[in-house]
C-alpha cells in the first residue's frame, strides 16, 4: 500500500504539534508496511528520510500545458493573511481578504511552459497564496508519483489533496488536527478558512479526526456525513531522554504550559490559583507561555494580590520545559477547546500528575488523569489541592500515568489508519 501524504511541516523544523504528529504517523505507517511519500512545501534536507520519502514542493517543476491546471487556477481566490495568524490565531489578529480572480502570476505562467514555485513553508503573510500554489504543485506530483491513497493534513493542504484526487482519481483521506472552531471564538471566526475546511471535508472519502470532540464538530458544524468521519487519537513518540526530577525545590509547583490565548483558558488557571493559595502558603503557580492574553492575565494576577506567588515565564524552549516539568507537582490544562492536546502526555511522561479539562480530545483516552470542566474552578482547585496534599494520589498518578502514556503508540494508530485506507480501496 502506497500513500501520498501532504503536510505542511516535518521535524526538525516545526512550529506546532502538526509536524510532530505527521512524523509519528509516518513512522507508525512504516512499521505497518505502508509506504509513505510525504510532500511538504519546503523541505530543508535534514528531515529523517530513513523510513519515508520526502518531496519538497519547491523542487517540483510544473508543466503548465495541462488544461486542468488553468481551470483550477481560475477558480482559486487569493487571501492575504496577517502573518501571526496561522495556525495560532488569536483574538486580536485579523484577516485581510482580497479576491483576485486574475493575478499577475497567472500571466507569468502563460509565457513559459514550465516553472517552479518557491515556498516558504512557514505560516507567513502569503499563506493563502502558498496554499493555492501548493495545490498546483500537488497536481504535478500526483501525475508523476505512484500511489494508492492520498492523505492530507489540516486545511492548508486540503486543496492539494483535492487536486491530487482530481488528477489521479485515487481516494482522498483528510486528517483534521484542529478546526476553525478551536482556533477562534465566534467573533473572530474566519469564513475563508472555514470554507476551505468544509470543501476538503466534502471532497474527502474519509476524514480522520484527532478526537471524538473534533469528530463531533466536523459532523455538527460542517454538516458532514458521520459514516465517513473516523476518530484517530494521537499517540506519542518515545522520549529519547528521561526528564530528571529537580530535588530541593522549596515550594510545591503547579504549572500551566501553553499559548496564553482564549482557547487555552489561562484565566481559569489564575482563578483556581487564588483559591488554592488561600489555603496553602507553600504553593507556587507558574504560567509558562506567551500569547495575546498575556497582559490581561498579568493584570488579573496583580488584581487578585497573588503576584508574589504566581510566576509568568514567557515562552520556554524544549530544555526549559523539561526543567519546569522536573520541578512541577501538578500540570494543569484548563483548555476551553482542545482538539487533542499533547502537552499533558509530556507532563505525565515526566512523572507529573495532570488535571485536564473535559473539553480536550486527550481526555478521551486518558484514565490516569483528573478531568474537570474548564469552568469548574472549584473542582479544579479540589483536584490540585488533593494531588498536593494526599501523596498517595500523586504517587499513583506519577507511576500509572507514565505507564499509560508509554502505551500510546503511533504504531497502533497507524494500524487503525491502515484499516481505514483499506476500506477506501477497491476490492480485488
Amino acid at each position: 500500500m502506497k500513500v501520498l501524504m501532504f503536510g505542511w511541516e516535518f521535524p526538525p523544523h516545526i512550529a506546532g504539534g502538526l509536524g510532530t504528529a505527521c512524523f509519528g504517523l509516518t513512522q507508525g505507517l512504516a512499521k505497518n508496511h505502508v509506504d509513505v511519500t510525504f510532500v511538504m512545501p519546503k523541505a530543508s534536507g535534514d528531515e529523517d528520510q530513513r523510513k519515508i520519502k520526502i518531496i519538497s514542493a519547491s523542487d517540483v517543476e510544473l508543466d503548465t500545458r495541462y488544461s486542468d491546471y488553468f481551470q483550477f487556477h481560475k477558480e482559486i481566490s487569493y487571501v492575504e493573511v496577517n502573518s501571526r495568524l496561522i495556525p495560532y490565531v488569536g483574538l486580536d489578529d485579523y484577516f485581510n481578504v482580497i479576491n483576485q480572480k486574475e493575478s499577475a502570476l497567472l500571466e507569468d505562467v502563460k509565457v513559459t511552459e514550465k516553472r517552479k514555485y518557491l515556498f516558504s513553508g512557514t505560516y507567513g503573510a502569503n499563506l493563502m497564496e502558498e496554499v493555492k500554489n501548493y495545490a498546483l504543485v500537488a497536481a504535478e506530483i500526483a501525475r508523476n508519483e505512484d500511489f494508492d491513497i492520498i492523505h492530507a493534513h489540516d486545511w492548508l493542504t486540503f486543496r492539494a489533496g483535492i487536486m491530487a484526487k482530481k488528477i489521479s482519481n485515487k481516494p482522498l483521506c483528510i486528517h483534521v488536527h484542529a478546526t476553525e472552531f478551536d482556533r477562534s471564538d465566534e467573533f473572530s471566526r474566519n469564513e475563508i478558512v472555514y470554507n476551505l475546511e468544509k470543501e476538503g471535508m466534502e471532497a474527502a472519502d474519509a476524514i480522520c479526526a484527532v478526537s471524538d470532540l473534533t469528530r463531533n464538530i466536523i459532523i455538527e458544524k460542517y454538516g458532514i456525513e458521520p459514516s465517513k468521519v473516523f476518530t484517530l487519537h494521537n499517540a506519542v513518540i518515545p522520549h529519547q531522554k528521561e526528564v530528571e526530577r529537580v530535588e530541593d525545590v522549596p515550594y510545591k509547583i503547579v504549572t500551566f504550559l501553553g499559548r496564553v490565548t482564549f482557547q487555552k483558558g489561562p484565566e481559569y488557571f489564575i482563578e483556581t490559583a487564588k483559591k488554592v493559595m488561600e489555603y496553602d502558603k507553600d504553593v507556587r503557580f507558574v504560567l509558562a507561555g506567551d500569547g495575546d492574553m498575556m497582559n490581561r492575565m498579568i493584570e488579573r494576577v496583580a488584581e487578585l494580590g497573588i503576584a508574589d506567588r504566581f510566576h509568568f515565564t514567557g515562552f520556554l524552549n524544549g530544555e526549559e520545559i523539561d526543567l519546569l516539568f522536573g520541578m512541577s507537582d501538578v500540570y494543569v490544562m484548563p483548555s476551553i477547546s482542545e482538539p487533542f492536546g499533547i502537552s499533558p502526555l509530556e507532563a505525565m511522561r515526566a512523572h507529573v500528575p495532570v488535571v485536564i479539562s473535559k473539553q480536550s480530545g486527550v481526555s478521551e483516552i486518558l484514565q490516569y488523569a483528573i478531568k474537570v470542566d474548564f469552568w469548574d474552578i472549584n473542582a479544579m482547585a479540589d483536584a490540585i489541592y488533593g494531588i498536593l496534599h494526599y501523596p498517595a494520589l500523586a504517587n499513583f498518578f506519577a507511576e500509572r500515568g507514565k505507564e499509560e502514556v508509554n502505551s500510546l503508540k503511533w504504531e497502533h494508530v497507524a494500524k487503525k489508519l491502515k484499516g481505514i485506507y483499506a476500506s477506501l480501496l477497491p476490492r480485488n
Binding site: 483559591k275 489555603y279 483528573i370 479540589d382 483536584a383 489541592y385 488533593g386 498517595a392 494520589l393 499513583f396
Partner: protein, 394 residues
C-alpha cells in the same frame, strides 16, 4: 427435605456531598442530605414498602414461609429521618415470628478488614440499635458484602454469634459444594452458611438480561434450576440485596410477581422447606469445617477484597481512617464520632476503585463521582475535617 434460606441485605450509606478542601475546618456537614433523602424515599416507595407488603401477605397465607434480613444501622437511621414507615413495616414482619433479623455492622463498615477492636465496636453498636428499634438480639451474622475469614469468624464467635452468612466462593470451596453446612475450623460452634452465588446472580444480574438464554426468568424456570442442583446437598442459600426487588429490577420487569410465585410454589410443592439462618445454630450432624485463611467477599468474580482495597488510593484512605481509632475512643465529640463510623462504609471505598469494569456492578448505579480520584479527594477532605473535629473536643 432440602432447605432453602432466603436472606435480604439493606445497607444504604450516608452519601457524601461534594466537600471542598476550603470547607475543611469550616463546615462539618459532610452528607448530601438531598441525595440521601431522595434515594431512601425512592427505595422505600419502589422496594422496601411494596416488597415488605408482599412478604407480609405471603407470611400470612403460608405458615411454612420464613425469611431473614440484615439492615445496617445507617439504613435504620436514614429510615428514621426520611421514611419512618419502613421501620414500622419491618416491625410487622418481625411480629410474625418467622422473620429473622440478622446482625451486621452499624455503618456497612469494612472494619473487619482492619482489626478486631474496630469491628467489635461496629457490631456492638448495631446490636444496641437492633435491640432498641426492633427489640431483637441477633444470633446470626451477615458481614458487610459477606466479607469473611477464619479470623473474623473467631471474633464473631467471641461476640456470641452462632451462625455466619458468607460467600460460596469457588476458590475457597474448590470441589466442595455451597449446599452443605460448614463451621469455623477454630470455633466449631460457629456455623457457616455459604451462598450459592450463581443462583443469586440469575436473579440480581440476569433477570432482565435479554441476551441470557433463560430470559425471561419465571418462577417455574427458577424452580427447575433449584431442582437441577444435586439433591444430596441439603442447603440452598440465597442472599441478596433487598434492592433487587424494585430497584435493580423495577416493578415493570415483573420482579415482584417472580418472587411472589417463587415463594408460593416453594410453599405449595413442599419439595423444599424454608429455613432461617438461626435454625442451623444447634445443628450438630454433618457439619464440615471450611478454611478461609484470607478475607473473601461477594465482590464481582474474584470474591476478594479488591473492590475496596485494591489500589493505593483505597489503601491510603483506609489507613488514614483507622489511624484515628484511638482519637475516636478518647473523643467526646459525639457528632464527629458518628461521622467517623460512617466513613467506614464500603461504598466510599468502592467509589475509589480503579477496576474499570466495576461499572458492571449494580451498585455503580449510586456512584456520584466523575472519577475514582475525585471520590478519593472528596473522602480525604472529609476525613481531614473529621480528624480535626475529633481532636478538638477531647
Amino acid at each position: 427435605m432440602r432447605k432453602i434460606c432466603f436472606h435480604f441485605q439493606i445497607s444504604q450509606p450516608y452519601r457524601l456531598r461534594r466537600y471542598h478542601f476550603f470547607d475543611i475546618n469550616k463546615h462539618h456537614n459532610y452528607f448530601d442530605d438531598f441525595q440521601n433523602s431522595y434515594l431512601v424515599k425512592r427505595l422505600a416507595d419502589f422496594c422496601y414498602l411494596p416488597a415488605n407488603k408482599m412478604f407480609l401477605d405471603l407470611l400470612k397465607k403460608y405458615e411454612d414461609i420464613s425469611l431473614s434480613f440484615s439492615i445496617s444501622g445507617d439504613s435504620i437511621q436514614l429510615f428514621k429521618e426520611h421514611a419512618p414507615e419502613v421501620i414500622e413495616s419491618f416491625k410487622e414482619l418481625i411480629a410474625t415470628n418467622r422473620v429473622e433479623i440478622v446482625g451486621n455492622t452499624f455503618s456497612h463498615s469494612i472494619a473487619s478488614l482492619y482489626g478486631k477492636d474496630a469491628f467489635m465496636h461496629q457490631i456492638k453498636k448495631q446490636e444496641k440499635q437492633l435491640k432498641e428499634v426492633f427489640d431483637v438480639t441477633p444470633v446470626s451474622f451477615c458481614n458487610t458484602e459477606l466479607i469473611y475469614s477464619d479470623e473474623i469468624g473467631e471474633w464473631l464467635a467471641e461476640a456470641g454469634y452462632k451462625v455466619v452468612l458468607t460467600e460460596g466462593a469457588r476458590h475457597i470451596l474448590a470441589w466442595k459444594s455451597a449446599g452443605y453446612l460448614y463451621c469455623n475450623p477454630f470455633q466449631t460452634n460457629l456455623k457457616v452458611l455459604m451462598r450459592n452465588y450463581n443462583l443469586c446472580d440469575d436473579i440480581t444480574l440476569r433477570f432482565q438480561n435479554k441476551s441470557w438464554e433463560h430470559y425471561p426468568l419465571t418462577a417455574d424456570k427458577y424452580l427447575s434450576f433449584l431442582n437441577n442442583i444435586p439433591h444430596d446437598a441439603p442447603y440452598i442459600n440465597l442472599f441478596m440485596d433487598y434492592e433487587t426487588i424494585g430497584e435493580y429490577h423495577t416493578k415493570e420487569s415483573g420482579i415482584f410477581d417472580f418472587f411472589y410465585h417463587l415463594f408460593v410454589q416453594i410453599a405449595e410443592r413442599k419439595e423444599l422447606s424454608f429455613m432461617l439462618p438461626q435454625d442451623v445454630a444447634k445443628e450438630e450432624d454433618s457439619v464440615l469445617t471450611i478454611h478461609v485463611p484470607w478475607a473473601m467477599s461477594s465482590s464481582s468474580d474474584e470474591k476478594d477484597t479488591n473492590e475496596w482495597l485494591g489500589n493505593e488510593l483505597q489503601q491510603e484512605a483506609f489507613e488514614q481512617l483507622f489511624k484515628l481509632e484511638n482519637l475516636y475512643k478518647e473523643s467526646k465529640n459525639e457528632n464527629a464520632k458518628m461521622n467517623w463510623l460512617r466513613l467506614q462504609a464500603a461504598d466510599h471505598f468502592a467509589f475509589m476503585s480503579t477496576k474499570w469494569f466495576a461499572e458492571t456492578s449494580v451498585k455503580r448505579n449510586f456512584d456520584v463521582y466523575p472519577s475514582p480520584y475525585q471520590a478519593f479527594i472528596n473522602y480525604m477532605n472529609v476525613l481531614n475535617d473529621v480528624k480535626l473535629q475529633l481532636e478538638k473536643k477531647k
